[in-house]
Amino acid sequence: MIEFCDVGFAYRDGPAVLSGVSLCIDAGRIVAVAGPNGSGKSTLALLADGLLAPTSGRVLVDGMDVADEATVWNVRARVGLVFQNPDDQIVGSLVEEDTAFGPENLGVSRDEIARRVSESLAAVGLGGLERREPHLLSEGQKQRLAVAGVLAMGVPYVVLDEPTALLDPVGRREFASILCGLARDDRRGVLLVTHRPSEIALADEVVVLGGGTIAWRGEPASLLADTSLMASLDLAESPAGALAALLRARGRAVPSTAQDAESLVNALWA
């Protein structure tokens, strides 16, 4: 479990970016963290992996304090982090080299690395592209490569910071299925920082940040069903979500978690 216990964070001479944040990510669950830009979402992601230490409160990963220098590398070996920018997290000159980067750092044996690399690439749908140069991949493929790199480390927790921000709609869709797979199939704990209603809908719990504190928390269905609540939290509705809301207003039984055309139509003509 990743635990945030009353966490506060501020940069050296700066204002508080986060204050009083408490949340838990358990194995097999997806926790979405939403909020407008500047609400501290990305800082949360960095804290979860020990790349930043909280200024107050504690962040614990399976009981280990991320601020403890002695165990911070163990923390990083248990928490995989996927960033927003596809290019700036790819280190290797070939796809398989990049996926191997994590296990190599952990001193895993060569045969084991090779096995993990091919498993991870297959899991994200990049099997067969081992010898490809990363700059020839699409942005969506690069993001999936980043996930593969993290999976190859065998991490029980995956933190993703707006992973689809720079992807096109098709890329986002492909990524959504990978997100679900992480938690459902592999029983990993997933922390997903996002502002997209379609991704919030995938989560088990959603925490909304506003000005560095938790402005709302609960189930995605409740949040997505309340248009005015979303507006007050500075969250934009998706067009599909807006359509669903209008249909609900007309008495149709469309769940608030129906955030794309397929789910909508399925609900209408179940």
């Binding site: 869709r173 007309r250 149709r252 794309d260 055309a261 397929e262």
Partner: protein, 280 residues
């Protein structure tokens, strides 16, 4: 009249063993006051199209004309002042010590009599207060603000045509709204071409829409036409806007639907009526 591309083709590395065709047989026109939306999957040549249209890349085949004048030669970009090109993530280009300086860079180079005034005006057009933002360093701005400053830098040169490559990518909802507002504001005095993969945003306001696929025009016509035929999106490997896709999926199930609409309220009414087995 207008910015016209006729039979435009572009082959990178033409004549070498690395030759790769990026565009073929593209026709496109934009008049002042029009908004044209260009859609297409990754690698379809959308960015290349904008570069050719702006005179950055000379076409291997066909021609590009602004009004009567043909864009020719490698220096076309320098000579053609009337076309403004806004790249993807244009905030990468910000360099000056203050926002005002950066936005005034263009007009100053072009010999404008009052570059500072042009900069102030341009900032206002993109919804940024010149007094507040002018003296700030461009490197301290948020993503959405930096994006709009870069856009202002292009608008300050008073182009007749503005070409934007995915102007809303990577922005949050507030930033996206601000940029779209700026694009709408520009449309009044200029011909605007927007390359996007989020058709939702501007399809409803566009005059015309073009779908590019593998460097060729897979579909071109009034934007309304694309709304009526969302199946055209999938044909080119694109996802149609959810509002349209929902209506399309309904018809795929054999449900009778009126002609498709992009407006969410109307679409809801149509879908609702369809579930009751009648029409709106």
């Amino acid at each position: 009249m207008g910015l016209t591309l006729t039979g435009v083709g572009l082959v990178y590395g033409a004549g070498t063993r690395y030759a790769r065709r990026a565009l073929g047989g593209v026709d496109m026109t934009v008049e002042i006051g029009e908004l044209v939306v260009v859609l297409g999957p990754t690698g379809s040549g959308k960015s290349t199209l904008l570069r050719v249209a702006a005179g950055v890349l000379p076409p291997t085949e066909g021609r590009v004309e602004v009004g009567e004048r043909r864009l020719e030669g490698p220096a076309a970009l320098e000579r053609e002042r009337r076309i403004g090109l806004v790249f993807q993530n244009p905030e990468k280009q910000l360099f000056a010590e203050t926002v005002a300086d950066d936005v005034a860079f263009g007009p100053r180079n072009l010999g404008s009599p009052d570059p500072e005034a042009a900069a102030g005006e341009a900032l206002a057009r993109v919804g940024l207060d010149p007094a507040g933002f002018g003296p700030r360093s461009p490197f301290t701005l948020s993503g959405g603000e930096a994006r709009r400053v870069a856009l202002a830098g292009v608008l300050a040169m008073d182009p007749a045509y503005v070409l934007l490559d995915e102007p809303t990518t990577g922005l949050d909802a507030a930033g996206r709204r601000a940029v779209l507002e700026a694009v709408r504001a520009v449309r009044g005095d200029a011909g605007v071409v927007v390359v996007t993969h989020d058709a939702e945003e501007l399809l409803g306001e566009a005059d015309r829409a073009i779908i590019l696929s593998e460097g060729r025009v897979a579909h071109a016509g009034p934007a309304e036409g694309l709304v009526r035929r969302p199946d055209l999106f999938a044909e080119s490997g694109l996802l149609a806007p959810d509002v349209l896709r929902a209506q399309l999926l309904a018809t795929d199930r054999g449900v009778a639907m009126p002609p498709f609409v992009l407006d969410v309220e109307e679409a809801a009414a149509a879908l609702d009526a369809a579930t009751r087995g009648g029409s709106a």
